[in-house]
Symmetry: C2
Subunit: 334 residues, 2 copies
């Protein structure tokens, strides 16, 4: 393990001062073009790689962006992170990922650790139970900008990129009504987060605007996966007044619903229409293919990245809210 090459090594080889090397390599300060070229040549010749640990330490800030999500596995988050990394890389940032596992306590620990790393900025989608953003305050104290995407604390003064979930649900229900459905059920999760309440509100409003009655029995909740959708569909279809349309809060749940329906002789969408949320590619695997409410991930990535970068570059913490309008992707289940 030979010690790595430092700017001093490069300087010595050239018989000049290491500070000049530093300046030349970073294209800052005044250095004669000739010297600069010479230095760069020698540096790459020696295989010099800047010690980022030293750079970051000296600059009191790293070129790392942190992304905090509840769970990396769902397609929505995997895709967001994937896209975010690509765009961050273009501007020279690396990315550290953290999973809260939907646990506010872990989320807090993560945030605390971030300040130790002196990350340049943070993008987060909070847990279902994160109501306050108090554990993010510490970032403000350290002047580390942060942006929420998809899921933000209820009251926050930080920048955020959210989806118009009310409209997503509203449009989905409206679409089913327009295709002739009259008894539309809604399967939610047990998660209490704002975005799920917004969807519920949109569902109710659509019913109301179409003079359709709302019934408690038509709203069930709990779970996150296919099996939960299967289970809820069973409950719903055993009702005296069966639904003829079901809105699912996630595509996976919607797929579970379709599986139940088909297995039990209900035709989709003729007997029962189904719509999910997320535009998960999984929705294309099932039959009929699942109609879904799409939340444009590239838009969310771009939005949150811009919001973050602006704050980093201006060294100012700002408060801006971007709303992404969702779009129904019609496939075969309506």
């Amino acid at each position: 393990m030979k010690g790595s090459i430092t700017i001093k090594d490069v300087a010595r080889e050239l018989g000049i001062h290491h500070v000049t090397v530093s300046r030349a390599l970073r294209d800052t300060g005044a250095v004669k073009q000739e010297t600069r070229d010479l230095i760069k040549k020698k540096a790459s010749e020696l295989g010099y790689k800047p010690n980022r640990l030293a750079q970051d330490f000296r600059n009191k800030r790293s070129n790392v962006l942190a992304v905090v999500v509840p769970d990396l596995r769902p397609y929505f988050f995997a895709k967001f992170v994937s896209d975010f990394m690509e765009i961050a890389k273009e501007v020279g940032y690396s990315v550290m990922i953290f999973q809260s596992g939907e646990k506010p306590g872990i989320e807090k620990d993560i945030i605390d650790s971030l300040i130790g790393y002196r990350v340049a900025g943070v993008v987060a989608s909070v847990t279902q139970d994160t109501v306050h953003e108090s554990h993010f305050d510490i970032l403000k104290e350290e002047n580390i900008p942060y942006v929420f995407f998809d899921r933000a604390p209820e009251q926050t003064e930080a920048s955020q990129v959210l989806v118009n979930n009310f409209k997503g649900a509203y449009d989905a229900v409206t679409a089913m009504i327009q295709s002739g459905k009259k008894r539309i059920a809604y399967i939610s999760t047990h998660y209490k987060h704002q975005i799920f309440r917004d969807r519920l509100a949109g569902y109710k409003q659509a019913l109301k605007d179409n003079n359709l009655p709302f019934s408690d029995k038509m709203v069930v909740e709990g779970g996150f996966f296919m099996k939960d959708g299967f289970h809820h569909a069973k409950k719903l279809m055993e009702l005296k007044e069966k639904p003829d349309g079901i809105l699912a809060v996630r595509d996976e749940i919607g797929i579970g619903v379709i599986k139940y329906l088909k297995k039990n002789g209900f035709r989709v969408p003729d007997d029962v229409a189904v719509i999910g949320f997320d535009n998960d590619p999984m929705g294309i695997a099932c039959e009929p293919e699942l109609t879904t409410v799409q939340q444009s991930i590239p838009s969310m990535v771009m939005g949150s990245f811009e919001l973050l970068l602006t704050q980093i570059r201006s060294s100012t913490l700002s408060f801006e809210k971007k709303i992404i309008e969702p779009k129904i992707i019609f496939r075969g289940s309506v």
Copy 2:
């Protein structure tokens, strides 16, 4: 932006030397228990957070592990990374993720940048075209251990955790034969990587061991997604000698195959059986549910993490190879 609290601040408050604070906080060196307690109390009182930038710089090594994958979106990689982060966190490591996008050039850039970060270790699944591991040599020079998982360069002297792909394909084909199939096709990707060749070899061997003829026409390749499976199934089913079983190199492709078959009046598995690779949850969404070759991700995570940690802790680069045995998950498509 008040400057952060440093050990010197803590020391000053207590009227002692900052070195003692450093020692106390890290539970190293000889410090009177009483002093140690006092220091810890004061530190947390002041909200002291160690500056990891300074620590890492001083230690010439960060507590960050790097994970390099071709793409974070496929379930296999998302799940691997997700699990890996959890286990890494338990031991105090944070994780930086990088995507090569299947481009060796980018992979090289990533590796180069890693040495700047002085990461503690690297776990990588290489691109389809990474034959040599020459661009990883630089890590050796810096004494940074690395482990390959799932996809390793053809010749490598680094530790690795691989799946027995030969056996996976062999068992899958055998299973179809046992269920009475006699003309089994194989859909590969255009990727030339070892693991895909191993699967092909396993496919051929299973045919041979059952005295079934091998035919070039029964092997098609190209693509990665559902639509590719759809397309290839079409080609295959338009053959004069149609297959009655199809092995797909990925679940997504297998699902595309099933979609084509059903759409065109072939019954699955009665007319044609289908098996995929990866145990992607997507396989449960389709109907019939896709039988698949599972590669245990937890085993791979554990394996590669252990291999890495051993090297980090012993400051030795080692060469160990772990093979994970795959397992067929029988669902409805065989």
